[in-house]
């Protein structure tokens, strides 16, 4: 997903003023994926929302200390959201990958069984024991069930987390915080780093 362009950045202007512009755009970008991402089948919207969360998080990590105290809370909240969306994305990648892998093994087994049957009128089920991957299908099916169930669970957690952020006024409070300037920071400098 291409990031929205931030207009009006001025290299010679104050860090906080430029960062405020960036944060407002990145926050709006993140929030714009709801309610589309509340649809569990909207895999692309969820993925894009994760990227938007990552972009917002990194700007907050670097410039958050320039702003009001809520910016620090918001950094943690966005990281939590990004991590959860990342876990969901991992499931969305692994489910088709695992299914594809299982399909390839099934195709190999089917070809081997067909060859083993030779000129028989029908396939003898007893031949199944000879399939090269006979012992492997059950585990892959169990893994598929696990990944699908985990995806459902994580998605429910995402809806709960976002609902919680909305109830706590995440967007409005962060918008307010980026309009504030950390008072002591201007004189002394404030430390930024992973939060």
């Amino acid at each position: 997903m291409k990031a929205r362009r931030v207009k009006g950045l001025e290299p010679d202007a104050a860090l906080a003023d430029n960062a405020e512009r960036i944060l407002r755009v990145r926050l709006d970008e993140l929030c714009s994926f709801m309610p589309a991402a509340a649809d569990p089948t909207a895999v692309v919207a969820l993925h894009d929302m994760r990227i938007a969360a990552k972009r917002l998080r990194y700007v907050l990590e670097v410039t958050g200390p320039c702003f009001g105290p809520y910016a620090r809370n918001a950094t943690k909240m966005v990281k939590e959201l990004q991590d959860l969306l990342g876990e969901i994305h991992d499931c969305d990648v692994q489910i088709p990958e695992t299914a594809g892998f299982g399909e390839r093994l099934l195709a190999v087994d089917a070809a081997a069984l067909r060859e083993a049957a030779g000129d028989a009128a029908d396939l003898d089920p007893a031949l199944l024991k000879q399939a090269p991957h006979a012992r492997e299908h059950a585990g892959l099916a169990a893994l598929q069930a696990h990944l699908r169930a985990r995806r459902l669970l994580l998605f429910d957690r995402f809806l709960e987390l976002w609902g919680d952020y909305e109830r706590k006024g995440f967007r409005a409070r962060l918008e307010y915080a980026v309009g504030e300037r950390a008072a002591s920071a201007a004189a002394d400098g404030v430390s930024i780093g992973e939060q």
Partner: protein, 161 residues
């Protein structure tokens, strides 16, 4: 996971001055994590370098207007390419780790299938490691570290001008 080093920032300092300092620090962090990154027995090394590459890419994008555009575009492209190579190596690492843990909770009859998938992922991990080795060589040949530091210097010089 490697913690990003603290940097002092002041809300009123010029954007480009902060850009120079932050890019220098994030550049140093990236290359500090390069040691042992191809060692597949310690998957945290590649993870730390990948995280450092993401942080560097992020600050380049945040401070983009502070740098000379022609040099900046090439540097950002190379950082993305390195980050992609780190990601391609890291993804199977994570998947293998998760499947190994998952396998322990399975009944014996279900383990061979998961083990087979882990085998397949180990092949992908090896290919990812080879691609990463080539990308690290390219990074050195293209002088990425020096070009990143030159970008930071350019932002500083513009501040002084």
């Amino acid at each position: 996971m490697a913690k990003a080093q603290d940097i002092d920032v002041a809300p009123d300092e010029p954007f480009r001055q902060a850009a120079a300092r932050v890019v220098r620090l994030r550049t140093a962090e990236l290359f500090d994590h390069a040691d042992g990154v191809l060692d597949t027995s310690d998957i945290e090394r590649v993870h730390d370098m990948r995280v450092a590459s993401r942080r560097l890419r992020a600050v380049l994008e945040i401070f983009a207007p502070c740098f000379p555009p022609n040099e900046f575009d090439g540097v950002l492209r190379d950082v993305k390419q390195l980050a992609d190579a780190l990601g391609a190596r890291r993804d199977p690492d994570v998947h293998i780790d998760a499947l190994t843990a998952f396998s322990k909770s399975l009944v014996a009859a279900n383990r061979p299938g998961v083990a087979r998938l882990v085998e397949d992922l180990r092949e992908r991990q090896t290919r990812g490691n080879e691609a990463l080795a080539a990308e690290l060589d390219r990074t050195a040949q293209r002088g990425l570290r020096e070009r990143l530091l030159a970008l930071a210097d350019a932002a500083d010089e513009r501040s002084a001008a």
